[in-house]
C-alpha cells in the first residue's frame, strides 16, 4: 500500500462523485450537520440535470439560507423576509418562460410570509417553492418558529412551547395542499442517503411540472434539522427529528398532479 501515490488515485476513471457546476466553490456558511447544504446541492443538481440553468432564477429568503445566492451558481434575487413568493410571482409573471423558484425557511414562509405563501399558492403561480422546515429560527439564534413542536424548547419558549400561551405549530404544507392553485405538494427529508434520493426525485418532479407548464405551484417541504438551534449534536438532532418531527410532520406526497393523495 505504501507505494501508492496520490497521482495514481486521482484519475478520471476513479471519479465517483463531483460537485455540480451549479454550486459555487464558496464554503457553505451552514453549521456542520445542517440540512440546508444538502437541500441546496440536490436542487442545483436537478436544475443541471434538467438543463434549466440558463433560464432559472432563484430567490433566497431571509434566514440561514439568506446567502443561498453565494452558493447557487445561477441568477438569483434575495427577497425581504417572507416575501419570496411575491418576488417569484413578479418575475414569473413578466418572464413566463423562465423557471422560477423560491427557497425558504419555516419562519420566512410560515410566519412573516404566510400571506404571500397562501396567495401565491392560491393564485396558482407556476413556480417551485422549496421549504426548509427545521422547527426553529436558526439564523437569529434559535427562537420559536410557527412550526416549533408543542413542548419543544427554544430561546423564546425556554420551558417548551405551550399551546395555550404560544399557539400551535402550523402545518402550512397541509394547508396549501387544500388550495386549488397547488399542483404538487410533498414533504421529504435529507438526513439519510435514501431520503436525499427521494427528495431529489421530488424536487425534480417539481421543476419538471414548471417546465412542462403544469398549472400551479409545486411545493416541496423538507423537514430538516437545526442542530445549533436545537442545541444537539448533528447525530442527536437527526434522531430527535425522526422521533419527534416526523410523527407530527409525516413524510410523503400530499398532493400529486393536482389531486390530494
Amino acid at each position: 500500500m505504501a507505494d501508492i501515490t496520490l497521482d495514481q488515485i486521482i484519475k478520471p476513471e476513479n471519479l465517483v462523485y463531483t460537485k455540480t457546476k451549479l454550486m459555487t466553490d464558496k464554503v457553505l456558511s451552514y453549521c456542520p450537520g445542517c440540512g440546508h447544504g444538502t437541500a441546496h446541492r440536490i436542487t442545483m443538481e436537478v436544475i443541471e440535470e434538467l438543463g434549466l440553468e440558463e433560464q432559472t432564477i432563484g430567490i433566497a429568503p431571509v434566514g440561514c439560507s439568506v446567502l443561498a445566492y453565494e452558493f447557487m451558481n445561477i441568477d438569483m434575487q434575495q427577497a425581504a423576509h417572507g416575501r419570496a413568493p411575491a418576488v417569484a410571482t413578479g418575475i414569473k409573471r413578466v418572464w413566463p418562460d423562465k423557471i422560477v423558484f423560491s427557497y425558504q425557511g419555516d419562519g420566512d414562509l410560515a410566519a412573516i410570509g404566510t400571506n404571500e405563501t397562501i396567495h401565491a399558492c392560491n393564485r396558482g403561480e407556476n413556480i417551485v417553492i422549496i421549504f426548509i422546515n427545521n422547527g426553529i429560527y436558526g439564523m437569529t439564534g434559535g427562537q420559536m418558529a410557527p412550526t416549533t413542536l408543542i413542548g419543544m424548547k427554544s430561546s423564546t419558549s425556554p420551558f417548551g412551547r405551550d399551546a395555550q400561551r404560544m399557539g400551535n405549530p402550523l402545518k402550512i404544507t397541509e394547508l396549501v395542499a387544500q388550495l386549488p392553485g397547488t399542483y404538487f405538494v410533498t414533504r421529504q427529508a435529507v438526513h439519510t442517503p435514501a431520503n436525499v434520493r427521494k427528495t431529489k426525485r421530488a424536487i425534480k418532479k417539481a421543476f419538471e411540472n414548471q417546465r412542462d407548464g403544469k398549472p400551479g405551484v409545486s411545493f416541496v417541504e423538507i423537514v430538516s434539522n437545526c442542530n445549533s438551534g436545537w442545541k444537539m449534536t448533528p447525530r442527536d438532532a437527526n434522531t430527535w427529528m425522526e422521533e419527534n418531527m416526523f410523527p407530527f410532520y409525516p413524510l410523503g406526497d400530499i398532493k400529486v398532479d393536482g389531486k390530494l393523495v
Binding site: I57, D75, Q78, A80, A86, T89, G90, R93, N115, H119
Partner: protein, 361 residues
C-alpha cells in the same frame, strides 16, 4: 398617436403606464387611487401591449412583485395611497438598496393612521427623507395637473432606469380625482426580451453559459463593503441633486414675496398670486416639481436677490417648510401656512396668510 382626452388624474396615470411601455403593474385597492387598477383592468393592457396587471393580496406583496420583476429587467410600477405606501416602505428600501429601477405613485390622503380619504400632503417627510429604513433617497416628482400625472409616468420611468432608483410620483387626492383635459403622449413600445438582455447587464434573466451570474441583493455582511455601497449610493444621489432638479417659477421676476408650493397646493397658490397681484402685492410662485432633489440652490439665490419673505403652502402642519428654511438658511423670512387632515385651503386663506405672516408679520 398623441390624443386629447378628458380624464381623472388617476386614469391619466394608468393610461400613461400603458403608453410608456410598462411591462407590469402590481397593486392593491385603496381610496383615493383605486381608479388606477380599475382603469388598467378595464383597458385590457395584456391585449393592447402585453402589459401584465395583477391585483396583489396586499401592498406588501405588490411592492415585492415589483422588486422581482424590476430585478429581472422589466419596467414595472405600483401605486397606492398613504396607509398602503407605509406598507410598501420595506420593499422600497430593498429596491433602493439593490439599485433597481421602479416607478410608484402615492395619491396622498389625510393621516395619521387610517386618517381620511380626503386629499393631503402629509407624506412629504416620508417621501423625501427616506420613508423606509437605511440611508437612501428616491426621486420624487410632484404633479400639479392631470397632464403631469400622465407625463411624469414617462419621465419617471426614464429617471428610474437612468439611475436605477425608485421614482415616486407624489400626488394627492385632488390631482388624482379631478378631471382635466390631457394630451396623451404617443405610445412607446415595450422592450423585447432581447433588448432587455442587451440593455440591462445586471438583470436576472437566467445565467447564460460563459457569462457571470447576476445577483440582486441589498445585503452585505461585511460592513466595509456596505459602507462602500453606501458611498456609491450617496454619489448617485449627489449626481441627481446636481442634474435633475425641476421647478417652475411663476410671476417671480419682479416679486418681493414668494409662495413655495407643490401639487394641488401650487394650483391653489397660483390663484392666490392672482388675487394678491390684483391688490398690488408683488408676489410670485415657486412651484416645486422635484421634491427630491429639492431646488435649494435656486431658492437661496432668489433670497439673495431681495425677496423679503417666503410662504411655504402645503396641506400639512409644516413639512416642506423645513426644506425651504434649510435652503433660505436665514437670509429671508420664512413662514408656513396649510390646512391639513383632509382639508384643502382656499386661495383667499393663502392670501390672508401671506398678508399676516409674511407682509405684516
Amino acid at each position: 398617436m398623441s390624443e386629447l382626452k378628458l380624464m381623472k388624474g388617476n386614469e391619466a396615470l394608468a393610461e400613461a403606464a400603458i403608453r410608456a411601455g410598462a411591462d407590469a403593474y402590481f397593486g392593491y385597492p385603496i381610496t383615493p387611487q383605486s381608479e388606477v387598477i380599475e382603469y388598467l383592468m378595464a383597458e385590457k393592457p395584456h391585449e393592447r401591449t402585453g402589459m401584465v396587471v395583477l391585483q396583489a393580496e396586499s401592498e406588501i406583496a405588490a411592492i415585492n412583485m415589483v422588486y422581482g420583476a424590476a430585478g429581472a429587467g422589466k419596467k414595472v410600477m405600483t401605486s397606492s395611497s398613504s396607509p398602503g405606501i407605509s406598507l410598501k416602505q420595506e420593499g422600497i428600501s430593498y429596491i433602493a438598496g439593490a439599485e433597481l429601477p421602479c416607478l410608484y405613485a402615492n395619491v396622498v390622503r389625510g393621516g395619521p393612521g387610517l386618517g381620511t380619504i380626503q386629499p393631503s400632503q402629509a407624506d412629504y417627510f416620508q417621501s423625501t427623507k427616506g420613508g423606509g429604513h437605511g440611508d437612501y433617497r428616491q426621486i420624487v416628482l410632484a404633479p400639479a395637473s392631470v397632464q403631469e400625472m400622465a407625463d411624469f409616468v414617462k419621465d419617471g420611468f426614464e429617471l428610474a432606469f437612468k439611475y436605477r432608483i425608485p421614482v415616486l410620483i407624489l400626488s394627492d387626492g385632488v390631482i388624482g380625482q379631478m378631471m382635466e383635459k390631457v394630451e396623451l403622449f404617443d405610445p412607446i413600445p415595450r422592450l423585447t426580451d432581447a433588448e432587455i438582455n442587451e440593455k440591462y447587464p445586471w438583470a436576472t434573466t437566467g445565467k447564460k453559459s460563459g457569462t457571470e451570474r447576476r445577483i440582486i441583493t441589498s445585503l452585505d455582511l461585511d460592513s466595509h463593503k456596505m459602507e462602500e455601497h453606501n458611498h456609491k449610493l450617496q454619489a448617485k444621489y449627489k449626481e441627481i441633486t446636481e442634474k435633475e432638479v425641476r421647478y417652475e417659477l411663476i410671476d417671480c421676476d419682479d416679486a418681493e414675496y414668494v409662495i413655495v408650493a407643490y401639487g394641488s397646493s401650487a394650483r391653489i397658490a397660483q390663484k392666490a398670486v392672482r388675487l394678491a397681484r390684483a391688490k398690488g402685492i408683488k408676489v410670485g410662485l415657486f412651484r416645486l416639481i422635484t421634491l427630491f432633489p429639492f431646488p435649494s440652490v435656486k431658492m437661496h439665490e432668489m433670497c439673495g436677490k431681495g425677496i423679503k419673505g417666503f410662504l411655504a403652502v402645503e396641506m400639512s402642519s409644516g413639512q416642506m417648510v423645513e426644506d425651504v428654511r434649510l435652503a433660505v438658511n436665514g437670509c429671508s423670512k420664512v413662514a408656513h401656512f396649510g390646512r391639513y387632515g383632509g382639508i384643502v385651503h382656499t386661495p383667499e386663506e393663502v392670501l390672508e396668510a401671506l398678508e399676516q405672516k409674511i407682509i405684516g408679520g
